[in-house]
């Protein structure tokens, strides 16, 4: 079954962190980046910004590692979801997530992760530069492939020009 996913193109990210704001407001009614499910990781001195969020892994380490079986796939949405009635707050999922996309909120004593906002992720909706977008899972690589093809093409052309001595 095909689902939509967050596609992150960090090259386009301006580093503004609006995604963090709208995520926390949507889920908690507050502005607080430590309550956002998406986080922009920055290397300011290099001008590099990378939004990190849950990849909704098919074989999710958090789901596998959870000792109370509180993490399961929401089949309708294609998201990996936490059942807070079962969650014991052990943070094992935080340790095993290879993307650092599972977060523990001390004040609320629970973990949080991207739930795709029930099919209308606010981060993607507000990101005007499309660094975060919500696309069909099968289409995630399409745009990247096209961009890579363009780069190859241009490299090829300049190599040809070089050979021709222009």
């Amino acid at each position: 079954m095909s689902h939509k996913l967050l596609q992150i193109d960090h090259e386009k990210c301006t580093g503004c962190r609006l995604c963090e704001l709208v995520c926390a407001v949507r889920h908690h009614g507050v502005s607080n980046p430590t309550k956002s499910r998406i986080r922009v990781i920055k290397w300011e001195g290099e001008g590099v910004y990378v939004p990190m969020a849950c990849q909704q892994c098919q074989d999710a380490p958090c789901q596998k590692a959870c000792p109370s079986k509180a993490i399961a796939r929401d089949e309708a949405l294609g998201a990996v979801a936490v059942d807070y009635d079962k969650c014991i707050g052990c943070r094992t999922c935080v340790s095993v997530c290879p993307f650092g996309a599972m977060h523990f909120v001390p004040a609320e004593r629970k973990v949080i992760k991207c739930d795709l906002c029930e099919g209308e992720p606010q981060c993607a909706r507000f990101c005007e530069v499309h660094a975060v977008s919500y696309v069909e899972s099968g289409d995630v690589g399409v745009g990247k492939g096209r961009a890579a093809a363009r780069r190859l093409l241009e490299a090829d052309r300049s190599a040809a020009e070089l050979l021709a001595g222009r």
Partner: protein, 646 residues
Amino acid sequence: MPLSRKIGYVNLTTGDISVQPIPLEMRRRFLGGRGLDAYLLYNHVPQGADPLGPDNVLLISGGLLTATCASATARTHVMAKSALTGLLGSANMGGFFAPELAWAGFHHLVIKGKASKPVYLYVHDGRIEIRDASRVWGKTTTEAQAAIREELGDDEVKSLVCGPAGEKLVRFANVMTGIKNAAGRTGMGCIMGSKNLKAVAARGTMDIRIAHPVEALEHNKRFIEQITSSKVNQTQGTLGTPFIWGATNSWGGVRTRNFQYNQLEYADDVEPERIDEIATETMGPYHMTGCYACQVHCRAQYKIPSGPYKGKYDEGPEYTSQGAFAGEPDCRSAETVLVGNHLVDQYGVDNLEIGSLISWAMELYELGILTKEQTGGLDLRFGNDEALLEMIHRICRRDGWLANALADGGVAASEAIGKNSFDYLIQVKGMSNLHSDERATPGLALNIATASRGSDHLRSRPAIDLYHLPEPVLRKIYGSPVPYDGPLSSEHTEYIGKPWQVFWQENCYMAVDCLGICKYHTVFLGATHPNFEDWPTVIRLNTGLEFTPREIWDVAERANMMERLFNLREGLTRRDARKGDTLNHRYFDEPCRRGAPGVVGLKIDRERFDKMVDEFYVHKGLDADGVPKPETLARLGLDHEPSRVV
């Protein structure tokens, strides 16, 4: 709630720290940000205080809407008695500091006294610590921020810092955060240096509860669409502020050769498109970056493409760096602009002021008022890129007689240089002008002459005057929230109606500075952007507070008057060439020599300018000397200041 944010009082002499709430009454009177800072400044700085002494007070703030769903609430305000002018010191910057300060529980910091050795403040979840800065002192702005993160072991810490120029007490050193965000004007970094305060570091995890989150999100979405759908912001998001410099240069509205000319010729290498080309070549096609939660992303990233600084990363350059390192000194190399921009960012110094002063020195040198001996052997003529960059280093290090004199600011330097050097200093209230030429635009000339922090475009500039909007459109904008049925003119060379426009813009810009919003999100460059009529909704949805457009206007008028009261107390008089609401004589005596046909030959008419000031004073409720009438103070509730509520 934004309303739960506190004021932190720090005394660096005694080490005393206290945290106080902000009474609702003060929110209703001043909103927050620059407005409440103006109140705190008037109430906490004793009359006649030495700007560099322990009695001066450094104020750091976010606005009422900082880090809420209000489109672009990144702005940090910094205020003190100015190290440069001795009048109001006030500067505003974007970046990510103010939101972090708000998440750490604070909207305002009031920093008094002087530390006995270098320190920095660490503000974290409701607490303020004074920490030893011996490992941070001496570092450049970016090195200092990195060192604090390393020391605190937290990459999410945001700091505002002074650089080596602030430590050296350069009177126009700035306060900086991130790579290039600068509270650049009036020498706020010098105040930090004078207090042995290297930095204020903030890190917060405290909720800012949004009053009506669902509606606030939806409103924010529409707000953002309004902002990003405008052509001017789309261009800003592609070319940044260099586009304004390029556009202004094309018709002859920038200063060249210290105001001798009003257009830089043969400027191809420093045009916005060329700067954009370099950014693309060095940082790729997506090289624009932005401040907190803003979708305009008007700041370019670049690496210096060639020369001894090749490969150094920086951001910008903005209009001011093009003016400072190309237009004014008559240099025409992108590399010089990008290197100059990088140096001022690292030293932490106002690009605008340093560029103006070097260009002033260049004219004095060419006139023979300054000798080669006085310039320390530098051939300080216009168009000498190497001499320009060398002077940046020397001023920031106070290296040599001339550099040391210039580091004290233009007015003080004119006394050291002597002769008729002051006549050539393009300043108002002791602060150099933006690198724009207002001889063709009387409304803009009135703006810089009367701006509260000295010659400045961000206090009251009716920039949309240049768009020649039809009069009914001007009436729609300038006719609310206070009715105005006086004259208005679509013609930018006119004098009529301009005092009202400047008065309206002064209140508009004060309001955004109180709210913590960027000026690109109000009627500055975009005529259709949000203003008084739009802000009540965004305030209500985010804070729960009810304001009418008129009440926001009243807050702005009150806060502007507070700044005026401070300036009057510290020596402003209407016609004082160094501290008054006046312009350099060149505005009246020397006509524009370049530019569009309608611009060549224009200068400001002294008599009509004087009438504009008179009329502006009437709008503000001042007498003919520029002093508020008792009934004006009573109307604004300022007849019992200082009232010391906070």
